[in-house]
């Protein structure tokens, strides 16, 4: 009986063990749904609509984010040369930049500082990409990068969504130029500035069919791709020439 005594407090703590296994602010219900979970980008692909839905208690703000595969970027900074032409006057390199960073918030936007701290706005990348003592050139490039991606509709923060019952849905428009790969879907719920829950899911954008075959060939077997381009062009050229020569013969 005496030997069992030290285990008694441990037994009392047993029900709390699952809480140690998940992040402190993880959602209690795992309600985040992403539709579709897989996007096939084929020959006639013109972007896709992604829908995220999650349970959001009344009084809380839901912020959803769609984050694309990360890439290293080399940016050219433009400036005037000789007072006439806009040319590259500098360069900046950033590592592991999300190719897509789209945010939807409902019913409104939490304070910017709270969003930044939660990593739920593109500006929050600054902390990682621009370390203390970063060059002014890098800061200019970072601001320019955000504007560039906003214009390309890869980055953006929009107050949008609809509530149905206890669920909130938001829609994202994924542009056709967004790269293939694994995308992260994130949900952060706020009560004022305080984070009450976080959830994450993934979706995959995959090149398919002829489009995928040609992309792969162009990248992995460039010589064969080049020869194929020539053969297709020669065949197309000779074929159209033959078709039009038939038309001329008939008109005679």
């Amino acid at each position: 009986m005496r030997a069992a005594r030290p285990f008694l407090p441990a037994l009392l703590l047993l029900p709390l063990l699952p809480l140690l296994a998940v992040p402190a602010r993880a959602a209690e219900d795992g309600s985040l749904r992403v539709e579709p979970r897989e996007v096939g980008a084929g020959l006639f692909y013109h972007g896709a609509e992604i829908r995220m839905t999650a349970r959001v208690p009344p009084g809380e703000t839901a912020v959803f984010a769609l984050l694309g595969p990360e890439r290293d970027l080399r940016l050219k900074i433009k400036g005037r040369a000789g007072g006439i032409l806009w040319v590259s006057v500098g360069e900046a390199r950033f590592r592991a930049v999300p190719s897509v960073f789209l945010v939807r918030a409902w019913p409104g936007l939490p304070p910017p500082e709270a969003l930044r701290e939660a990593g739920m706005i593109p500006e929050s990348l600054e902390a990682r990409l621009l370390p203390a003592g970063a060059r002014e050139e890098d800061r200019t490039a970072f601001r320019g990068m955000l504007r560039l991606f906003e214009r390309e509709e890869r980055y953006g923060v929009v107050r949008e969504g609809e509530r149905r019952g206890d669920e909130v849905s938001v829609r994202f428009r994924l542009v056709a130029g967004a790269p293939a790969g694994e995308y992260r879907a994130r949900l952060v719920r706020f009560a004022g500035s305080r984070i009450t829950a976080e959830e994450e899911a993934t979706l995959v954008v995959r090149r398919t069919g002829l489009e995928a075959a040609m992309s792969n060939l162009a990248e992995e077997n460039a010589l064969w791709y080049g020869l194929l381009a020539v053969v297709v062009a020669l065949a197309a050229g000779l074929f159209t020439g033959w078709v039009f020569s038939l038309g001329k013969k008939r008109s005679r």
Binding site: F44, K76, A176, G177, A222, T240
Partner: protein, 310 residues
């Protein structure tokens, strides 16, 4: 805008009808004026957002298709000077290879798009201004006199060149004799232009063959097409291997439009007055040049660009 098509190498989706329509417009103008049209097609593609390096390389691929049937027809008709064509082609392969490597270096430096744009501004400005002046002279009836005075000068220039250069040889099919270095150098120039700008180079080669090399017109067209076709084959393969910028889908969509447009243009050209249309073509070229010029002179909407694209 109709159905969209995803261009795997350009990395963007575009309306099929827009691309085919651009091909048709340029094909129509080609048929109307008897020019290749590559020098207009690439800048128009750049203007709708196709990366300049992809536009130039895919245009070269499209030119292979556009020139293939013409080359075949001329070869069968015996109007290709193969000896001359092979020298031009040799130069074209050297020039094309150099051009592709220049594009590769510029891409690595992140400056290829800017360089292609600048080269186009200079070339479109030159061609547009020349065409505009030429057609104005035709309308005023002063062109014949000016041409006659130039004709008197050219043989002397060509004669001096032919005398000084080594490797003089006969070209029986064309009935001319001069140094092999002349067509070889011309081929190099056209090859470089083909790689950097995605043009066939007929707009340079034909006048040089007629006025400088004194080749008969019926051989000029066939030989020029022969050289253009094979130079663009070389450029297409090299661009695909070294720069990964050839988009087959883009090239073929353009081709569909351009072959139809060229046939219509050729028919229309028989019914219309050439000088006035030529002025319109000159104005279109100059307008394209001005649009591109504004792109590098006006402050950009975004102060950065991605080196090497997405």
């Amino acid at each position: 805008m109709g159905p969209w098509i995803y261009m795997p190498v350009a990395g963007m989706s575009v309306p099929i009808l827009l691309i085919a329509g651009l091909g048709m417009l340029v094909g129509f103008l080609s048929g109307l004026f008897g020019v290749g049209g590559g020098f207009l097609l690439t800048p128009l593609l750049i203007m709708i957002g196709i990366p300049p390096t992809v536009a130039a390389a895919s245009d070269a691929n499209q030119i292979v298709a556009a020139s293939a049937s013409g080359t075949y027809a001329h070869a069968r008709a015996g109007t290709v000077d193969f000896k001359m064509g092979l020298l031009l082609l040799l130069g074209g392969v050297v020039g094309g290879t150099v051009g592709v490597q220049v594009v590769k270096v510029l891409r690595a430096a992140g400056e290829a798009d800017f360089a292609i744009t600048i080269v186009y501004i200079v070339m479109l400005g030159g061609i547009g201004a020349y065409m505009f002046r030429d057609s104005l002279q035709e309308l005023r009836g002063t062109k014949v006199r000016i041409r006659a005075s130039r004709e008197a000068v050219r043989p002397r220039v060509r004669g001096r060149l032919a005398e000084k250069l080594p490797l003089v040889m006969d070209f029986p099919r064309s009935g001319v004799r001069f140094s092999a270095l002349l067509p070889f150098s011309l081929g190099i120039l056209v090859g470089i232009l083909s790689a950097i700008m995605g043009v066939g180079g007929g707009f340079i080669m034909v006048p040089v063959m007629v006025y400088l090399l004194r080749m008969p017109m019926h051989v000029v067209v066939g030989t020029s097409l022969f050289q253009i076709c094979f130079t663009c084959i070389n450029v297409t393969v090299q661009q695909a291997v070294y720069n990964h910028t050839v988009d087959i889908l883009l090239a073929m969509t353009l081709l569909v439009g351009s072959v139809v447009g060229a046939q219509v243009g050729a028919k229309v050209s028989r019914r219309l007055r050439g000088e006035q249309l030529k002025i319109l073509m000159a104005l279109l070229i100059l307008a394209t040049m001005v649009k591109m010029l504004l792109g590098v002179v006006l402050p950009p909407a975004v102060p950065v660009s991605l080196a090497g694209g997405h």
